[in-house]
Symmetry: C2
Subunit: 355 residues, 2 copies
Amino acid sequence: MSEPLKLKSPADFIGKQGAGVISFGSGQPDLPPPKEAFEGLTIRQDLRYGLIQGELKLREALAKEYPDSTAENFVITNGASEALDLIFRSWGKGQKVLLPRPYYYSYLPIVEMAGMVPVFTDLVKGRIDLADFNKKIKDCKAVLINSPSNPTGRVEEIETLREIERVTARLGVYVVSDEVYKDLIYERENYHIHGSHVITVNSFSKTYCMCGLRVGYLWSADKKIVDDVCEMKTHTSMNTNLVGQDMALAAMKVPKEYARHQLEIWRQRRDFIYKGLTDLGFDLWKPEGAFYVLPQCKNPREFVSTLYQDFKVITYLGEWFGAPDRIRLSYALDIKQIGEGLGRIQAAMKKVRVF
Amino acid sequence: MSEPLKLKSPADFIGKQGAGVISFGSGQPDLPPPKEAFEGLTIRQDLRYGLIQGELKLREALAKEYPDSTAENFVITNGASEALDLIFRSWGKGQKVLLPRPYYYSYLPIVEMAGMVPVFTDLVKGRIDLADFNKKIKDCKAVLINSPSNPTGRVEEIETLREIERVTARLGVYVVSDEVYKDLIYERENYHIHGSHVITVNSFSKTYCMCGLRVGYLWSADKKIVDDVCEMKTHTSMNTNLVGQDMALAAMKVPKEYARHQLEIWRQRRDFIYKGLTDLGFDLWKPEGAFYVLPQCKNPREFVSTLYQDFKVITYLGEWFGAPDRIRLSYALDIKQIGEGLGRIQAAMKKVRVF
């Protein structure tokens, strides 16, 4: 019998997607990038340094998507990850940051590496509990929200987002709004919370299926934040890679039909996995955006380990996302693979008690 | 009369290279990347996440250039900048880092942002003074050396590098060796200092004229350092952009003749600017590598400001590199432009007293 996996972090599963493995692990689209993106490859022969803030044409194209914005409101970064890292590093050490829990697994290390102190507000039925939020936000420097959410798949109500916008504006607390799944909402358009106290973080990774290209950005109406981030980035990574920026700009030219078609695929998968897990008896929130489910699960370490070692199925521990009694599955797989995976999960449930 | 420039950092000159401006500012090759690099553009259609550590093929190719190395000794990063940033962030706060002064202008912010404490050893005639070095290194966690050096243009003697290697090994002090100009040494091959206490930082930017692509790397024989850096990078930027890595790998296939030809161009420029500035009366070290000169200069703020405002010539304050009585010029310009720039410098010397 094989030794149980140690399961310290999602990195334990990296490079383990061998033959026959069904991976509900990594959170990235399996779909190909739009063909338009590759037109970006032919543009550039000059590879000298670009602007730290990002290529002007790309920022101008983004400004058209954000109301009352100009190119000056954006900084192009190495994915949303770098945007988040630079924002928190630019603030003073020792200050508090409110994190709705469960949270994306990099949030905690990013906040802690910046020397800031995490404070948690636990989600209720996968949504922000405004009473608890309003109590805890008062002495925080910032809150980091993520709607649609990885790992919960939930989308906050527009009224909740507006209330957060108002409360934080009144208190002078920053809102860092990670909206990387903004184009993957099943029921409505994204609501872009805004104001001079809001910093939006976004990415081309999920919308255009180009995670490995690492092009993300932040939006802020506060010039000091833009300047501070650019000043740090001058020393920590310089400009974001130019070819990636060209490809991102080219990808933005895809017709609206592309996003609608993608969304239809995601919706079918969402319905399929939600019904499949519910039928198996799991208790989970129905995803309203992104492509994750976070079912409740007893003995999660044993189950995740057994699933991988005996059934070649990768899932992630909810513990990595601040949800120790759950497991996370990404459904960025075609329906056939999801079906095969669900069958193996059913078989594994005979070995490990999950309810 | 125009107001004098405030001159806070090199960023003050970014985006100011308009028509008729001669820029001795930015430290990047003006030469084009090798045509082979662009073959890397056609390889990839899959833009899903790559390995945090970097693409295996690229690391295997690098391993052939470093004695006794395997792909496991490398982490591919967003330029040398990110490698440096992650290395220092992975160490404990409050510990001392020795910096030979003058230093590359990002070193100080990188060390300070990591919460570490800089200690300085002043160069003598542009070279490390081993007596002072040996005295100050004792209670440091690490030393950050840069040979060939930006901004001095100097290359440390092999015997000096060996002595540093020995002393630090004996004391258990890390050496971070920034060798991004290793292929731009005029008189000899690079000496790669090594040992399990050495972390080499390098880049494709200068050798292959692809600064804007942001592909660098670190080499370390210490598995813990490689693991710690990868763990941080998982949260702060994920994999380095995949298209850039493809292009870097393709660039490595250029014949040796490419580097030799480049070096010949740099040597001619070096000889030309060194003689030109010496003839004008400046006191400066003769560059042995890289493409910088750091002449002594009285009233440097006034001179740099006048050069830009009245003569459209960009130069950098030595102060930004820890050398307040000097100015820095990059000679990454063709001979004709260098000649034109020298003529304008001569004219500006009639307005500002520089000796």
